[in-house]
């Protein structure tokens, strides 16, 4: 590679002043900058070096996170070497080095967040021997960025005197900020800490000021509204208005308590200003959403429901419990459904799009819908028709626990020929579920409820549950669905048949 270069001390100051200018520090210039125009003078005891600032990797970037450093201190770098992955407002991009040298110091750690553009992040020197000189190097402090729009900054300033009417540097206002100001009943002077470029007040500044409870100055559209809402305010104060309460809850609790009264007035006066937090959608939910839509759109669904008597099941459970075997209603449901599928083989099928026909599945694999934090997952009980109640019970318990702990193997939740979704524990009587492609049907089981049945002309109380099957009409027709449900109800009503 090309040999070492003797970089004049000049270029050092140039790059440093580059990033100093980038942060706009014309007023609060670090002490060393006064030496910047002296040619050919080294300064202090540091060898010639280049301080790299956070690069603006996209035109709209104002700060970025260092996702990961790809070099270590002391490593040699050349043109084109990737120094770090930087997360910008748009994407994660690579920060490439342009020159040869050695990394003397990394000034911000892995994972550093919100490093403003131009803030020093690394020091590059020409020779490996110069690296040691930078062990305790601290970047010259750059001029502080304009006060952040966080409520903490706003709340830290005396809350009562928060309406420090300091005219912002720039009277320009974008349409979003203008609308936000009008809605909040504030004026430009009320925003104490604009964060936009050149001191422009942005919409975020207005929202932050609202959240911090900045009072509007007299006059403007808020005044008559406040006067009209004053009688309503005491009434509203009793029940804290939801929209106004929501933003402080997202900021700091103590701010909310301090500002409760004026906040509610503000809320009443400002109108329905709803704030929200965005919860990013996880990958799992995204996929669930996609598949549900696909299922609803592509399958012609047939819905049929039937009641199944639970008296026999409850009695069986009591008997088994007396023997120390714990079996839940859901386990019986699974077994009954599996046996019904065995008896009505046409029901244990799937629609094969390529073949254009219903294809019988080789075995009865019943999937149980389990709700976890990340979304709904369906672990499968394979060959349920040939497993005993106790086996099914143990397996379902194990699968559900592991599903909640996110420890399922892929083969344990992919596949299956039938799904059972039980929302009985939430108090539902009946509901219709959405079929899980590529299966052909799903059984939605409600909760047990007290019913009055006529037996032998006499009303008797009992318990029953409603099971609704959502089936792919291409595979099931009415007759098939009802024979399945009838078989299911029969097994449930006479649990002794489930023992065979």
């Amino acid at each position: 590679m090309s040999g070492s270069r003797a970089v004049a001390g000049l270029s050092v100051r140039l790059w440093r002043s580059a990033q100093a200018s980038a942060t706009g520090s014309s007023a609060a210039a670090p002490a060393w900058r006064t030496a910047s125009l002296q040619w050919g003078r080294g300064f202090s005891s540091l060898p010639p070096h280049v301080v790299l600032g956070m690069p603006a990797l996209s035109p709209t970037m104002s700060s970025g996170n260092i996702a990961a450093w790809h070099v270590k201190e002391g490593e040699e770098v050349s043109a084109g070497t990737v120094l770090a992955d930087i997360e910008t407002d748009k994407a994660t991009l690579a920060f490439e080095n342009q020159d040869e040298g050695f990394v003397a110091r990394l000034l911000v750690p892995d994972g550093a967040k919100d490093v403003p553009v131009g803030a020093p992040v690394a020091v590059i020197v020409e020779e490996a021997g110069q690296v040691a000189a930078f062990k305790d190097y601290a970047a010259p402090s750059t001029a502080p960025a304009p006060a952040s729009a966080s409520a903490s900054a706003a709340a830290a300033a005396p809350a009562a005197a928060a309406q420090a009417a300091r005219a912002p540097a720039n009277f320009r206002l974008g349409p979003a900020a203008r609308k936000a100001l009008a809605e909040a009943g504030l004026r430009l002077e009320d925003i104490a800490a604009p964060t936009g470029p050149n001191g422009i007040v942005t919409k975020e500044d207005v929202l932050a000021a609202v959240a911090a409870g900045t009072k509007g100055s007299a006059g403007g559209p808020a005044a008559p509204k406040a006067a009209a809402a004053a009688p309503a305010a005491p009434a509203a104060a009793a029940a804290p208005p939801k929209p106004a309460a929501a933003p402080p809850a997202q900021q700091q609790q103590q701010v909310q308590q301090k500002q409760q009264q004026p906040q509610q007035q503000r809320g009443a006066a400002a109108g329905p200003r709803v704030q929200y937090t965005d919860v990013p959608n996880s990958q799992v939910r995204r996929i669930i959403a996609k598949r549900l839509l696909e299922s609803k759109q592509t399958f012609p669904a047939l819905y049929a429901s039937a009641d199944a008597s639970l008296d026999g099941v409850q009695a069986l459970r009591k008997q088994l419990a007396a023997q120390g075997i714990k079996v839940s209603v859901n386990d019986c449901v699974v077994r009954a459904a599996a046996l019904a599928l065995r008896d009505v083989p046409g029901a244990n099928a799937a629609w094969d799009t390529a073949a254009g026909a219903a294809v019988a599945q080789p075995s009865v694999d019943v999937a149980i819908a389990v709700a976890t934090e990340g979304g709904l997952i369906t672990p499968i009980v394979r060959d349920a028709a040939n497993k005993s109640l106790a086996q099914i019970s143990a397996e379902v318990r194990d699968l559900a626990a592991r599903a909640r702990a996110n420890k399922l193997q892929p083969h344990e939740f992919q596949g299956g020929s039938f799904t059972i979704s039980n929302l009985g524990m939430y108090g539902l009587d009946s509901f219709c579920a959405i079929i899980n492609p590529p299966q052909a049907a799903i059984l939605a089981v409600g909760g047990a409820r007290e019913v009055v049945e006529f037996r032998g002309g006499e009303p008797q109380s009992g318990s029953a549950l409603t099971a609704t099957i959502s089936a792919d009409h291409r595979v099931f027709d009415g007759e098939l669905a009802s024979s399945f449900l009838a078989a299911f109800a029969r097994y449930m009503a006479h649990p002794v048949t489930m023992m065979t």
Binding site: S2, G3, R5, A6, V7, A8, L10, S11, L14, W15, S17, A18, Q19, S21, A22, G53, P55, A56, L57, S58, P59, S78, A79, G80, V82, L93, A94, Q98, D99, V117, G118
Partner: protein, 400 residues
């Protein structure tokens, strides 16, 4: 080692060995007598279309190589500085960098004179430099300062130097191709023994007006050289995905063409000199320069989403045009200290230019509507704030 690297790069460089003090006596299959400080270098053979290619033995001298190295190294440092300034948000807007392609413009410049016209696309910082501009003019223009090449009003894509017959600097892809043919036609029309060079990229090579220009140039024997700077990627589209035929030197059909190793300044210079002689009497020719850009298409493009970093670093190691000339110089016995001095000087020039440009003043607002029309006939231009201004014409308001 340096020589092995050159050989591995595919362009057969010096196969000679021990440099004599300051002078080289060559051995090896490229042997030729050296007189004074001239010597011969073997470059990659040219691929030709409907023409006899020139010899791939290029004669050059230490003085010429040194001067080429200075220019190319300055170009490289200037583009690196532009990158850093852009990342520091001191340069805004579009910025298309030329690093990696320095050999093309340098080779062209050393084969023609200042009466031959050159026009190129938006990747024009180094063209201005080669055509007599200074780094300060480029930097100031990039930062939008009044001391820039086009008074801070043009920006990265609009740099001109008419007194050196450099016509820019054109933002619309491929629009400069027929313009360049027209410039050459003007030379012929005025009876001058000068040519026009019109430069475009592999992305623009598929545009319609290029073929219209080729047709007219062929028909009327216009002395124009069509230079296709093939850096293998349109913005992000590889040449084989954009063009049915990516042998751009044959795309002229009836127009002869040469394919040149665009990372070797001597190969480029030789080809352009040959082409100049050809077009003066025989009509147009296409030169495809096989080159590479290290940066993305522009500063908004990271440059790594459509090509691997391995590819870029391989290019840097094996075919870097600036390194090649440096190795050649060192192999010829030029003192390493001299080379370093050149580099230092270039760096200082770039650094000074950056510093001066940072503190320079931007152009006054009134320059926005000065010299928009030669004869404004009292019309009014609408400004961005909604008012109207009458443009003025000032004949003394010229470019540096």
């Amino acid at each position: 080692m340096a020589l092995a690297a050159i050989a591995a790069a595919g362009a057969a460089g010096r196969s000679g060995l021990l440099p004599a003090l300051g002078r080289a006596l060559q051995r090896g299959f490229a042997a030729s007598a050296s007189a004074d400080d001239k010597f011969t270098v073997e470059v990659m053979p040219y691929k030709a279309h409907k023409i006899e290619p020139p010899s791939n033995q290029v004669e050059t001298s230490i003085a010429e190589l040194t001067s080429m190295y200075e220019l190319m190294y300055t170009m490289r440092r200037m583009e690196i500085a532009a990158d850093m300034m852009y990342k520091a948000k001191l340069i805004r807007g579009f910025c298309h960098l030329y690093d990696g392609q320095e050999a093309v413009m340098t080779g062209i410049e050393y084969a023609i004179n200042r009466e031959d016209a050159v026009i190129t696309s938006y990747r024009d910082h180094c063209q201005l430099l080669a055509r007599g501009g200074t780094v300060k003019q480029v930097m100031a223009e990039l930062m939008g300062k009044a001391e820039g090449a086009t008074k801070g009003v043009g920006g990265s894509m609009h740099m001109y130097r008419k007194q050196a017959e450099f016509y820019g600097g054109c933002g619309i892809v491929g629009a400069q191709i027929p313009l360049g043919a027209g410039l050459a036609l003007a030379k012929k029309y005025e009876g001058k023994r000068n040519i026009g060079i019109t430069m475009y990229g592999d992305g623009a090579a598929n545009q319609g007006q290029k073929y219209e220009a080729l047709n007219m140039a062929g028909l009327w024997n216009i002395p124009v050289i069509f230079v296709c700077e093939n850096n293998h990627y349109g913005m992000g589209t590889a040449e084989w995905r954009a063009a049915k035929s990516s042998t751009f030197y044959t795309r002229g059909d009836y127009i002869p063409g040469l394919k040149v190793d665009g990372m070797d300044v001597l190969a480029v210079k030789n080809a352009v000199a040959f082409a100049k002689q050809h077009v003066l009497d025989n009509g147009p020719i296409i030169l495809e320069m096989d080159t590479y850009r290290y940066h993305g298409h522009s500063m908004s493009d990271p440059g790594s989403t459509y090509r691997t970093r391995d590819e870029i670093s391989t290019m840097r190691q094996e075919r870097d045009p600036v390194e090649r000339v440096k190795k050649l110089l060192l192999a010829q016995g030029v003192d390493a200290g001299e080379v370093k001095a050149i580099e230092k000087k270039a760096k200082k020039e770039v650094d000074t230019a950056v510093e001066e440009s940072k503190v320079a003043a931007p152009p006054p607002m009134s320059w926005q509507w000065k010299n928009v029309y030669h004869d404004p006939v009292g019309i009014k231009l609408r400004t961005t704030t909604g008012g109207y201004v009458t443009p003025s014409y000032d004949p003394t308001y010229t470019l540096p």
